[in-house]
């Protein structure tokens, strides 16, 4: 049978009813032999067509709704028309949401926190959005825009990657012989959600790479991370889950946690629930929920400290939470997400601290205005260059 030739459903139906002609039988057999999935489909079709009556199976609608809500809470809707605020409008004072203890609405008029240097109109700097590319075992790449319709990509290794709507998940019906690796890369201004073959969920932040086997085999489930990701690991005591970074190995005992490992910067692992061990140079630090292991590649110093885990873990739920953090660290995080370059007019500004909950999907100008409201700074924007300057 020609590789691209399709069979008419009608021929399959005739076959089921035992009415296929000789010619149809030949076409049918060729199709059937072509792929195991064809045979499985035929068996199911035959059963469905010949079934007299079976007791109905009721779908668990409430559970499906729960899953829908879970998805909806994490996935922004695309809205028409696309929001294009210009800076003059942005500065005119839009209501912004501030969550500090409770939720209060502030009408913001007086603080001209955001200035544009050039007179030309600027397009609003929009937050990141789902985008990624996956490098398959054979070196081919699949670009994911986050707008993909739901499709299945087949890796040469035999794994099926279900792709669509800002998420990719691995399913393989037949076992995969040797350990085959895929790599997912998220650019600056991107994010993506990945479900590994064992069901573990990984939210990948901007400018991040994760290398992982398409199916786990062997004693350990190991992945390699550069950048930032939040993990919800499927429990499997017999097969510990390990996140390898340049600085350390994070050994997981069934849990959710955040790993931040951008090259050159202080790397930190924050535990939300469960238990993880951070191993470095043969020493393992066991973390309790709410604890963070920090490794500074400059002085090779490792430290364990108590933190508000939410501020490091909730980015995957659309929140940017800063708890008394240095402005330099904050700007570094924002730069990756909004894909901008940042600079400071004075060194001392880097050490200013800011506390606040921000909306991760908000316009960049809104985020900056929030910071300027409680910190003595102004922001100058020129194209994609943002400069922090003092405000007296």
């Amino acid at each position: 049978m020609d590789k691209n030739q399709m069979i008419e459903w009608e021929i399959i139906a005739r076959k089921i009813k035992g009415e296929a002609s000789e010619e149809e039988e030949q076409i049918f057999q060729a199709w059937l032999a072509e792929d195991d999935s064809h045979r499985k489909y035929y068996e199911k079709a035959e059963k469905a067509w010949n079934e007299e009556c079976s007791e109905p199976r009721k779908a668990d609608i409430e559970r499906l709704i729960e899953r829908f809500d879970w998805f909806a809470d994490r996935t922004p809707r695309r809205q028409a028309p696309v929001r294009r605020m210009n800076w003059s409008l942005a500065a005119a004072g839009v209501a912004i949401l501030l969550a500090a203890g409770g939720i209060l609405w502030l009408k913001q008029k007086e603080v001209p926190a955001v200035q544009t240097v050039a007179q030309a109109q600027h397009e609003a700097i929009e937050p990141g959005r789902p985008q990624a590319r996956i490098i398959l075992a054979d070196g081919q790449t699949v670009n994911l825009t986050g707008r993909d319709s739901v499709t299945v990509v087949q890796d040469k290794s035999g794994a099926d990657i279900h792709v669509g709507k800002g998420m990719a998940s691995y399913k393989s019906e037949s076992p995969i012989a040797a350990e085959q690796y895929n790599t997912i890369e998220i650019p600056r201004g991107g994010e993506f959600c990945l479900q590994l073959s064992d069901g573990t969920m990984v939210w990948l932040n901007s400018d991040t790479r994760l290398r992982y086997p398409v199916a786990f085999s062997g004693k350990e489930r190991a992945v390699e991370l550069q950048g930032e990701a939040y993990f919800e690991v499927t429990k499997d005591r017999a097969h510990p889950f390990i996140v390898r970074t340049a600085g350390a190995d994070v050994r997981v005992y069934g849990t959710s946690f955040n790993v931040n490992a951008y090259p050159g910067a202080v790397q930190h692992t924050t535990l939300a629930t469960g238990s993880v061990g951070v191993a470095r140079n043969g020493r393992e630090y066991r973390l309790q929920p709410g604890q963070q292991a920090r490794f500074n590649p400059k002085d090779e110093h490792t430290e364990i400290r108590n933190v508000n885990a939410a501020s490091y873990c909730l980015w995957h739920k659309g929140m940017l939470i800063f708890e008394n953090e240095r402005l330099e660290d904050i700007m570094a995080r924002l730069a990756v997400w909004y894909n901008v370059e940042t600079a400071f007019e004075a060194e001392r500004l880097k050490d200013l601290h800011f506390t606040g909950d921000l909306e991760r999907y908000a316009d960049f100008s809104e985020v900056l205005r929030m910071i300027a409201m409680t910190t003595k700074v102004n922001f100058k924007i020129n194209g994609r260059q943002v400069t922090v300057c003092p405000r007296e």
């Binding site: 064809h38 469905a48 109905p56 909806a72 809707r77």
Partner: protein
């Protein structure tokens, strides 16, 4: 528990709320139409889980792409089109083509979901098949397959014996099987 079918006005209001991203409106559609849509997909893919995934994906896709939805269109029809396209894709991956569009008719018959946007010729074929179905048969088929009622429940509601319900059902399925092929291709 019998859920009354929403009126056209009610569906119009639901459509507007869907457009605004109202999750409650999505929940409403889940409770009223998920089973039927799953049955529709089932007649393409013949796999319970695949059918469920296709419908679930359709809902998620609708959530993300509400910008594409025109609320003057019937929201159920709109969902049905998303599901139908996913089903056709599923068949394409199995290298199956449905040039005569028999599957659409089969799916509409078994799910009781009519797609008013299909062409008149297809609807004529649908009615043609419906005409051949034995009396009471189609009603029982839908109660059983779409509303997922047990044979015993249908028997009690109709005030007839369980064995009679089974006979009706068998006869209807047999007629359907014969005529789906005969009538559809014959016309």
């Amino acid at each position: 528990m019998k859920k009354p079918q929403p009126s056209p006005e009610e569906l119009k209001a639901i459509g507007l709320r869907i457009k605004q991203g109202d999750k409650e409106a999505f929940h409403f559609l889940y409770r009223h139409y998920f089973d039927s849509l799953q049955e529709y997909a089932m007649r393409y893919v013949y796999d319970y889980q695949d059918a469920q995934d296709i419908v679930q994906d359709a809902f998620l896709s609708l959530w993300v792409n509400t910008d594409q939805y025109d609320p003057s269109r019937n929201i159920v029809t709109y969902l049905l089109v998303i599901v139908k396209n996913a089903c056709i894709n599923h068949l394409r991956n199995l290298k199956i083509r449905d040039s005569h569009r028999d599957k659409i008719v089969e799916a509409m018959l078994f799910s009781n979901l009519e797609d008013p946007e299909t062409d008149p010729e297809l609807q004529k074929r649908l009615r043609e098949v419906l005409k051949t179905l034995p009396e009471k048969g189609h009603h029982i088929l839908l109660e059983h397959i779409v509303r997922r009622k047990k044979i015993s429940v249908i028997a009690e509601e109709m005030g007839i014996a369980e064995s009679t319900v089974k006979t009706h059902l068998k006869r209807t399925l047999k007629t359907l099987r014969e005529n789906l092929l005969f009538i559809l291709i014959g016309i």
